[in-house]
């Protein structure tokens, strides 16, 4: 066959069409079919996801004093694949990083793309390091954003505030319970980098701004906390207890004004703390409350109108046999009124009142006062305590529970129960968080006081308060809890420590005092509790150990809160100079 010109032209045309068709198909395959795949591959090469860091919220006291701060620091990292001369880089920066140059060079020679060289480098030091790198024309060393949580008050309120782990997650206290509110949300943006690694700003892609964490305001007043912790530390230095706790609450609202736990630890060095130092004892420790628990039985019998404060009870001269066991009083007592049973803290008297009340009613009132259940305060690890139902009681329990044995309560339950008496019979839910504010200072949530239930009537609380006032008198068990210029109502507690092997430990006591002041218009309820204080023989009593601590704390608190004395203050001694008082202005 001979190829004429037309045939050749047609053949060439078909050839070209075929060739371009193949190209077109390949182009369609690349541009349309595999578009996503190749776009992602290209993006991976030059598009980076840049994190915009959110600022963690601050925890504040009730007056806005910052209890936490965020100190910006840098983490120094290296990409060994970007390094030309690892030894030169190591020599240039090792001194500033306070590292051995050879050790650093060995790290850099691993050729890994992400090597953490040093963490928590202060901003100023990081700036100097950047300058060194810039001057030396070095590549491959980068600075990552990070922060260190700083606690200006160090060990004060440590168990309540809590601390963070290495991933900046709360592991204790409010840092943990309010983690979601405090942490905020990091934002991000997609950026493109040029060949030198600099961002090409006009090519910025999708951007989601960071959402800073909210600030959390506590009900704690650091002025009061300072007083309470200071006095508690002084008392612990004197009595060397195993541990101690103090809680101050505003009875009308349930707001916790101060909460101290001893021993304590430095929040800036959580790694150096021992487990017993990180325990928030007011909510995680349970103890037999001892005589402070007598307020429950006496309130119940008066509320049920089984007795009046003037009803007399024979206290068996300190020796009462029941269910084959002998119950004793600290001192032999004869006929006492119900009022005096509380005032003198008679075990036999309160046991007889409980027998009159019956186990079901006693259990009901114990639970109504909030024992045996968590209070719901926003602190980590709260336990409910231990209150067995009547069907699990031994025959003796009806006489032991009223005096604070065979039950286990947390200090916060005890102070909440006493606050119920101070608050006219209304049990308030303890509050530690007051409000949550956004980063611009606008309130996001404000927590309101919450009445859990009305436990007893106002009339009953008045009668109990009258007896509790006499506890802090010459006739009562807590004369040393008195405060100059004020009437205090309260109750002492001296409980033998439980032996883990069974029974009680001889000579080891948990001593406490819980009271409120001023008695007729309470501004605060305060509990002081010391576990196993070292005292002279026969002095380990709540009234002798915890009472004076309460008095010292309450006196300072009254001054701090500027409470007007309700009682006359004793006149000045003759040798004391009178203070010249001018008719000053209100300023």
């Amino acid at each position: 066959m001979r190829w004429n010109a037309q045939a050749r032209a047609v053949t060439v045309c078909f050839g070209l069409v075929g060739l371009f068709s193949v190209y077109s198909i390949r182009l369609i395959d690349l541009q349309i079919v595999k578009h996503e795949e190749y776009a992602a591959l290209a993006a991976e090469k030059h598009v980076h996801k840049q994190t915009i860091y959110a600022r963690r919220g601050i925890i504040r006291d009730t007056h806005g004093e910052a209890l936490t701060e965020n100190l910006p620091v840098k983490t120094i990292v290296a990409d060994a694949s970007h390094l030309r001369d690892p030894m030169a880089v190591a020599e240039a920066i090792a001194n500033q990083l306070e590292m051995d140059p050879r050790e650093l060079a060995d790290k850099l020679r691993t050729r890994r793309p992400y090597i953490v060289l040093k963490k928590e480098i202060p901003e100023q030091q990081a700036d100097q390091l950047k300058e060194t790198i810039r001057i030396g024309g070095l590549r491959g060393v980068y600075f990552e954003h990070d922060f260190v949580r700083v606690y200006p008050n160090r060990s004060m309120l440590s168990q309540v505030v809590g601390f963070l782990d290495h991933d900046h997650k709360g592991v204790l206290g409010v840092e943990k319970t309010m983690q979601d509110v405090l942490q905020g949300t990091n934002g991000y943006r997609y950026i493109e980098l040029d060949r030198t690694g600099r961002e090409i700003v006009p090519y910025r892609g999708l951007e989601t701004p960071a959402k800073d964490g909210c600030d959390v305001t506590l009900t704690i007043d650091m002025g009061l906390q300072n007083i309470v912790e200071g006095e508690l530390a002084a008392a612990c230095a004197e009595y060397k207890p195993k541990d101690a706790a103090a809680i101050m609450m505003r009875p009308q609202t349930g707001e916790i004004m101060a909460l101290a736990s001893w021993p304590t630890f430095d929040l800036n060095k959580p790694g150096e703390s021992k487990p017993e130092q990180t325990k928030d004892r007011p909510v995680v420790d349970m103890v037999e409350p001892g005589s402070t628990f007598k307020i429950v039985t006496t309130s119940a019998v008066i509320e049920e109108k089984l007795v009046t404060p003037q009803t007399t009870i024979f206290c068996e001269n300190g020796h009462f046999q029941y269910a084959g066991r002998v119950l004793r009083d600290a001192h032999p007592l004869g006929m006492l009124t119900v009022h005096q049973v509380l005032e003198k803290s008679s075990n036999i008297g309160v046991a007889k009142l409980a027998l009159q009340l019956g186990d079901t009613k006693l259990y009901e009132y114990v639970r109504r006062f909030g024992f045996g259940e968590r209070t719901g305060v926003a602190l980590t690890g709260e336990i409910p305590g231990l209150v067995n139902p009547p069907h699990r009681w031994s025959k003796l329990d009806i006489t032991r529970i009223p005096m604070g044995q065979s039950v286990a309560v947390t200090p916060i339950q005890m102070v909440t129960a006493m606050s119920t008496i101070a608050n006219g019979g209304k049990l308030m839910k303890p509050m530690i968080i007051s409000k949550i504010m956004d980063p611009d200072g606008r309130p996001v949530a404000t927590f309101q006081p919450e009445v859990v239930r009305e436990v007893i009537s106002r009339e009953t609380t008045k009668k109990i308060t009258a007896a509790l006032k006499d506890v802090v008198s010459k006739q009562g068990t807590a004369q040393q809890a008195a405060v100059l210029g004020f009437r205090v109502a309260g109750k002492t507690g001296t409980a033998q420590k439980i032996d883990p092997k069974g029974g009680y430990l001889q000579g080891k006591y948990v001593v406490s005092f819980v009271g409120f002041m001023p008695a007729d218009d309470p501004r605060f309820t305060l509990l002081v509790l010391l576990d196993d204080p070292v005292t002279k023989a026969g002095e380990a009593y709540g009234g002798l150990v915890a009472g004076p601590i309460f008095s010292r704390m309450a006196e300072k608190v009254a001054r701090y809160l500027d409470l007007t004395p309700t009682e006359e203050v004793a006149p000045l001694a003759a040798n004391q100079k009178k203070v010249v008082f001018r008719e000053a202005s209100r300023d």
Binding site: R55, A66, E69, N70, L71, P72, P122, E123, F147, V150, P152, N153, R154, S155, M156, R198, E199, I200, V201, P202, M222, N226, L484, G485, E555, K556, R559, T564, P565, E568, V569, A570, P571, L572, Q576, K578, V579, F581, E583, S585, R586
Partner: protein
Amino acid sequence: MSRNRKTITHSIRVSSILQVVVSTATLAAAGLSYVYLKNQLLQYGDVQRQLERELTDLRADNEVVRTQIASLSSRVVLEKRLAKDSLGLVPIASDQIVRVNERHDGAGDALRVVSNRGFNQ
């Protein structure tokens, strides 16, 4: 030379040349503007990046200073300084305080009642 060729004139078509020149200049100007604007965009991008970095640094500096203020004004540090500087400050005893009752009758603060009996003696 034929008569017809004599009549042919080779005049310059200014309008056509202008058309070409203008359109070329327009295209060139558009191209240069594009490049110029693109450059400007990149430059402003650098400025933006620089300002953002400065803002971040300022915020970080603020945080550092705020942390220092909080630490230096904390009770622990203040109490230590108070003890170290021996300023001689002591708490006022309760019996050295005179309390005045505020009047509630709107008579101002001209008259005050001292409630602490100790000072009336």
